[in-house]
Amino acid sequence: MNSGMVSPPEVRGRMTITDQGDALHLAGAIDEAAALHELPQRARDGHLVLDLAAVTFINSLGVRDWIRMQASAQKAGLAVELRRVAEPLVHQLNMIIATRGNATVTSFYAPYQCDSCGREESLLIDAIAHADRLIRLDPPPMTCPECQSQMAFNDFPERYFSFLTM
């Protein structure tokens, strides 16, 4: 059968960059069409702060451009902060060490699952506040937004947190 068309999905939209407070907010897919090279030029006072909560996807071409962007920022002497890093990007930070550059990750999303009701959520972890736990590969406890039970970390901590160990 030929697949029926579904409504145009937002999940693979072209990446957008918007100024939000002290950070640049990236949304959509980081792929061959993403204009990552613009980012270092938009740094402020030697700081490049990227809010990555709305990044939905990154492919190998996006990874290549991401690494180039990090190298360019490093060459320009910029301090790069990655904030609210979405799960797809965390997976790449874990798989490809070069994607980390010299950036500091201050917060990131991580998968949790409720043992009681089975709900799965991607929840934000403050990497600064929980630094001691994270270095011990001990995920911070989270509460299920649906049934208020304790949620369990839904990945292998040694794998998921490896990007924090540099």
Binding site: I96, P111, F156
Partner: protein, 309 residues
């Protein structure tokens, strides 16, 4: 000498029995060796269609060499999740065309499918990995820029089947890399030049019949299976094994083969069906039964090459 057979080389008696029982259903004679010495002796008097061996075997290269010299078509390594750190060494051999990583004893269905494909010389089709009755969705890529749309549609449809965002995300990455590979890396001219490899991926690229790429996918509540086929058949075994072995995907900035390496790491099982000069079919299988923390922390692969008749 002429009796068709399968050889199992494993030191663990329980695994031997399990694998013997599973592969016995093929109707082939199944020989079992506890160690390398016995395996080599058995190979002197037989030509197994498949040699299945323990991934923690001390000298796999010796066994592989003996099997190949004897005309054995395929070698398969079995690995438990606890031995997943052996994968780079196994891939580094550049000769293991089949690796199954599973909780031991091995998952029967994947072992049987692999053996049957080799025995029957019937390699192609994602149907072999899905339960009867599974709907397969088919789309043909007719222009390069369609890749993004198709991948997004796939993710939306997978989500609408009730699969998690994590599964959709894995499906997107695998499909995107395989489609990109089929559109840009597969086309090769008579001189062996991959003439679309260096074209910017964002370039609009109409695909005539020869260059069109087929995407099929389906989900049977065990696996989400994504199949991508091109009609060049230019991908070869050594290129694949080298790409899979790109362990420095962790260390480097990418480059050639990175797409295949990422596709491999974004699914649970990657299957390459190769008909040289005719077509390449790659199937990514994503296990949808288990949450991430209960999954096997490494991926299996198979490389099958169609015999020239």
């Amino acid at each position: 000498m002429s009796v068709p057979s399968i050889l199992i080389v494993h030191s663990d008696r329980k695994t031997q029995r399990t694998v013997q029982r599973i592969l016995g259903v093929t109707g082939y004679r199944v020989d079992v060796a506890d160690d390398l010495d016995l395996a080599i002796r058995l190979l002197q008097n037989s030509r197994p269609v498949l040699v299945v061996f323990d991934g923690s075997l001390a000298s796999p290269a010796t066994l592989i060499e003996a099997a190949r010299a004897n005309g054995t078509e395929a070698c398969m390594t079995l690995l438990g999740p606890a031995s997943a750190d052996r994968i780079p060494a196994i891939l580094g051999l550049g000769a293991i065309t089949n690796l199954l990583v599973h909780q031991m004893p091995i998952l029967a269905e994947e072992l049987v499918i692999t053996a049957q494909k080799l025995i029957r010389h019937d390699l192609f089709g994602v149907e072999k990995y899905l339960l009867w009755g599974t709907d397969l969705h088919t789309t043909t890529l007719t222009r390069g820029s369609q890749r993004g749309e198709l991948v997004a549609q796939l993710a939306a449809q997978v989500g609408s089947l009730g699969q998690s965002a994590r599964i959709s995300s894995m499906a997107m990455l695998a499909a995107d890399e395989l489609l990109s590979n089929a559109v840009h890396n597969a086309p090769r001219d008579a001189a062996g030049v991959h003439y679309r490899k260096e074209l910017p991926r964002e370039l609009e690229l109409p695909l005539d019949e020869r260059h069109q790429v087929r995407l099929r996918w389906g989900c049977d509540a065990r696996y989400l299976a994504i199949e991508v086929t091109d009609s060049f058949g230019s991908l070869d075994r050594d290129t694949i094994l080298s790409a899979l072995a790109t362990n420095n995907v962790r260390d480097s900035g990418g480059g050639a083969g990175m797409g295949i390496a990422l596709a491999y790491r974004s699914c649970d099982h990657l299957v390459f069906n190769l008909a040289p000069g005719v077509r390449t079919e790659i199937i990514a299988l994503i296990d949808v039964r288990h949450p991430p923390a209960e999954r096997v922390p490494a991926s299996s692969y198979n490389v099958f090459v169609e015999r020239s008749s």
